[in-house]
Symmetry: C3
Subunit: 259 residues, 3 copies
């Protein structure tokens, strides 16, 4: 039998025992699983950050991989646990938008209702351990999605996944992610549009960035510039310095684009 692969993306950090508790539950159900950490340093509650990380990473994993994402400010409320099937891979987590950047009209989404597989007693505060970890491990152990819940078309399609044009012509989006080097990834695509727009500007907080460059070294010292990152999104960067520190911004902050 093939080795099942499970990945984890959370905002739990690495100092506490929360991630290990999830892994313990998983290994109790599927001891031979490969468990890979994607990131546990998602900014707390930053759904868009998690959505970005999982959308960027899953294409590197083989078919059949099961990805668990737990960034869940609504834990204990009425938001539902879901399983998404997409491109031959599986995604388990809360229906709050963390999978919002995967949806391409071919996805299958199910509401998880198979409470018999939950880790009991189910707490109000730690569904990562009590619902998402055991359900993902059951998938790894051979249970198929239709045994875990019914298909639904009523699931969360978050706004941050698709910028919206305001009546003033500006596009409204968000900061998705800030990487180790302080590069600020926005939710805007459209490299070609930007390069051809004489009025291009990106606005975050009280700062306006209106120069688009192709490489870091095209930026002057201390200058904030826009680039088309390897992510496919517009990023704001500095040459050998942290754009995020300069902008004083964080994931889920508002961003605007003028074309």
């Amino acid at each position: 039998m093939a080795t099942p692969i499970l990945t984890l993306t959370t905002d739990f950090g690495q100092a506490d025992h929360y991630v290990a508790s999830m892994k313990g539950v998983m290994l109790g159900i599927c001891p031979q699983a490969q468990i890979v950490d994607i990131s546990h340093e998602v900014k707390p509650y930053a759904i868009g950050d998690a959505a970005y990380l999982i959308a960027q990473t899953y294409p590197c994993f083989p078919k059949g991989t099961i990805h668990v994402v737990v960034v869940d400010p609504g834990v204990g409320s009425s938001r539902r646990p879901i399983i998404v099937e997409q491109a031959g891979q599986f995604f388990v987590g809360p229906d709050n938008g963390v999978f919002g950047m995967l949806y391409d009209e071919a996805e299958k989404v199910r509401t998880i209702t198979a409470t018999q597989y939950f880790h009991k007693p189910v707490s109000n505060t730690f569904h990562g351990r009590d619902i998402f970890a055991p359900i993902a491990a059951q998938l790894a152990a051979g249970i198929v999605p239709r045994q875990l819940g019914e298909m639904t078309t009523d699931f969360c399609r978050p706004e941050f996944a698709k910028p919206i044009q305001g009546s003033d012509g500006m596009w409204r989006g968000v900061v998705l992610h800030i990487d180790r080097f302080g590069n600020v990834v926005t939710s805007f695509r459209g490299r070609t549009l930007v390069m051809n727009s004489p009025n291009f500007a990106l606005v975050i907080g009280d700062k306006t960035i209106d120069r688009f460059v192709n490489t870091y070294s095209d930026a002057k010292p201390g200058e904030l510039v826009a680039m088309a990152g390897s992510s496919g999104y517009l990023e704001i960067s500095m040459n050998q310095a942290s754009a995020a520190a300069q902008l004083k911004c964080a994931p889920m902050d508002a961003a605007a684009l003028r074309l």
Copy 2:
């Protein structure tokens, strides 16, 4: 054969190569083991922090799991290496109190004397690599505890595991852990006692906390409150802010409780 599971809890951090050195030794002995990190961000030398983390986490792991804990300010001194059997799981580490919150009168504790399994030469400073990692991996590979040393009843039962009442009626304990969000976990249990005590107060440093609430949102902005955390211990928290930063406290700092 079932896949053996090994966990690691240390104060080594993740920037250096110490944890990987332990894993290399383990995999040389038991290549098919599942190795799970619980935390390597235990505050250096904070035995109570490690004791708290392992006690909170092990119930999520299946029977037969082998947990290695290396927070070892006395490395190279006369403190002995031990194996604890408890609830069908195994715990390997120094006899300095790191397992102090597991003991329930049913534990079996052995002094490790099987030097033939040590990683040679045994250094004075890195028993994690030279003693605890290889012994744990031998257990994972099928050696049984009685081949590793004799049972003992003379082992460390740390004070922090059990608060002590002073002559002034105050209970003396410690800060066990500070989580990612700055919640301060104390070594006091007793939710019911606290809720029914009109004179309740928790004292850490020069701060006194005398309000007990049920949820974070019951705290006013900037207010330090006591809660019964999911850990089972009394915790000091703030609403969307770091209680630890406000209290300027760290694991193993003294805490006092008035009932």
Copy 3:
């Protein structure tokens, strides 16, 4: 078949998805591999830091282990990807000196030319995912080095691996690594020489350290001292304080030794 072991050492940090992307590619090729993180907190671009960490760690791993090191400021330039065979283990990464502390005249070095195994399309910026991860995983899956490229004797032997004596008699080296506790590891060996030298001094920045001690506790409060660390290199330390913070130094900074 034995479980293949792969290790990873990078300067990618743990907040982003870069390390997980590499693991996804590896597991697509060799799902049963054991993947061990050595460190992802190498100071960005600090080749000497990575060289130090892998040289210190690999002796703990069993024969056949495959180590991937990606600290690669020259990614996309003409520096070549290589495989090193040394002491029965394998090392995959850029030919920029990251393996410079392994070479002992018995090493076999090959230039990787087997582009058919690369992850396509090969990006200009992420050879970790596109070249090093898949090549290492192919080795883990059973491909032998001679199928991946020709032997070469023209490879990078970095200066930091071997201090150089200047015309003034001073030895020139670097800071290799700074550990969690702020101990500063230099590229100088020679404990015996140092102990017998009446004129001994280590110079980093504007600070001169001329006292050699055997243990941390021999240092006075606030005093910078030299010690022979467990690494085999001269280290600069303080008693319960960070020597690195006092010296304001970082990996790859210049260091000088007078004997």
